[in-house]
Amino acid sequence: MTLKTRGRSITLLGLLLLAGVYVRAIWFTPVERTQGGAQKIFYLHAPAAWSTLLAMGLVGLASILYLMMKDERFDRFAAASAEVGTAFACVMLTTGPLWGKPVWGTWWTWDARLTLTLFLFFLFIGYQLLRGAIAEPGTRARYAAVLGIFGMVLVPFIHLSVYLFRTLHPQPIVLKPSAPSLPGDMLATLLFSFLTFTVLYIGLVTQRYATGAGDAHVG
């Protein structure tokens, strides 16, 4: 089984699992009392954030490995992870406001998760723009790797900035459905979704990696 086929299989599995998540979240998970149906967006929103963060972390790791070993496979992987990360960031950035509007009354809020994902989105886009702007593969791989590492290192600083910002400017009291305080059914759905999104990440990156051989004009 070629890598491409394997990637497709994993993605297919991920999509089937996603369907399972949808079914479970919609019909077999209780509705949250104060937020109503919109709370169920959380089951997609948080795992999407996780996949985005995972994608960035692996871009950074692959970048470091590329600079150390100059194996172009690491470069290909980084490019794949950045593109997949962008897709997950889009999911997160669309579901976030759709959740925020009914629950918090505002489409956008600079909370930790949304802000970090927005930054990751910018970083992924910038990374791919840079790749697209450099024709020579060796230079492109090196420059992209440098940018990838910088991006990964920036993440804790964003997190810290948001944290400090929020302690100075307390946001309106918001329901924080953090995992430990979720009742059993909801927690199970959430964990199932995290697993699904991880599988999707693996499948999509594998596919993208397998088809990334002729990267010259795609970037």
């Binding site: 930054f119 723009l129 400090l164």
Partner: protein
């Protein structure tokens, strides 16, 4: 170690000599800064918000744009004169090259800020003399962060089309953490609050500087070597 610094200073001096001889770069940057401040003045409603409330934001957004603009020229000179290849062939340690560029950029941006700050105080009637020293120190710390990352990013876009646009696109996400910190600390300083209130932000700024200067110096060779 001293060889590293010595080489860096030689490179910095050469860069600055080139820059200041024509005066076009510095002059443009200064005028740009003054214009941005002017735009900010007309971009607000003076009856709605007091200048003092907006002051930290105005100052730092202006400095950020001025820094990005100044950084654009960081490697342009080399590119134009094809002096870059000559530099690479020479036996200078790559880290010296980076540090030299960093110093030169710091001086350049520092000059722009040295003029921009009094202009800002003048235009918006903000008293700064009573906190001048801590404010200057803060500006120095934040600027080191801006310029450290910016110098490296400008090396990445040196041969790229639309470099003037690519540089801000790549750089701005990295400037936001130090920018936020700088604005918060400036606000406290101007309001006469004790600095202990913003110790978290100061620590963030310092950590940012240490981490990113080191990272940039470490990775800079990858941008110029084959």
């Amino acid at each position: 170690m001293s060889g590293l610094l010595r080489d860096a200073l030689v490179i910095a001096r050469k860069d600055l000599a080139l820059e200041l001889r024509t005066k076009t770069g510095l002059g443009s940057a200064l005028v740009f800064t003054a214009l941005v401040l002017t735009v900010f003045n007309f971009g607000r409603d003076p009856t709605a918000v007091a200048a003092l409330d907006l002051a930290p934001s105005i100052l730092w957004v202006t400095f950020t744009f001025a820094a990005v603009l100044s950084l654009n020229r960081a490697f342009q000179l080399e590119l134009e004169n094809q002096a870059f290849e000559g530099l690479l062939v020479s036996p200078i340690d790559r880290r010296s090259l980076y540090l030299g560029k960093l110093f030169a950029n710091l001086v350049f941006v520092g000059l722009v800020e040295a003029v921009g700050l009094p202009l800002f105080a003048l235009f918006f009637n903000i008293p700064i003399l009573h906190v001048l020293l801590p404010l200057a120190a803060l500006i120095a710390v934040a600027t080191v962060g801006f310029v450290a990352v910016g110098t490296l990013m400008s090396a990445l876009v040196i041969r790229v089309r639309f470099a003037e646009l690519m540089l801000p696109v790549l750089l701005l996400p990295f400037l936001i953490p130090p920018l936020v910190g700088a604005v918060q600390v400036t606000a406290r300083l101007l309001a006469g609050r004790p600095l202990s209130e913003v110790s978290g932000w100061l620590r963030l700024l310092l950590a940012y500087d240490v981490v990113f200067v080191s990272l940039a110096a470490l990775l800079f060779p990858a941008t110029v070597d084959e």
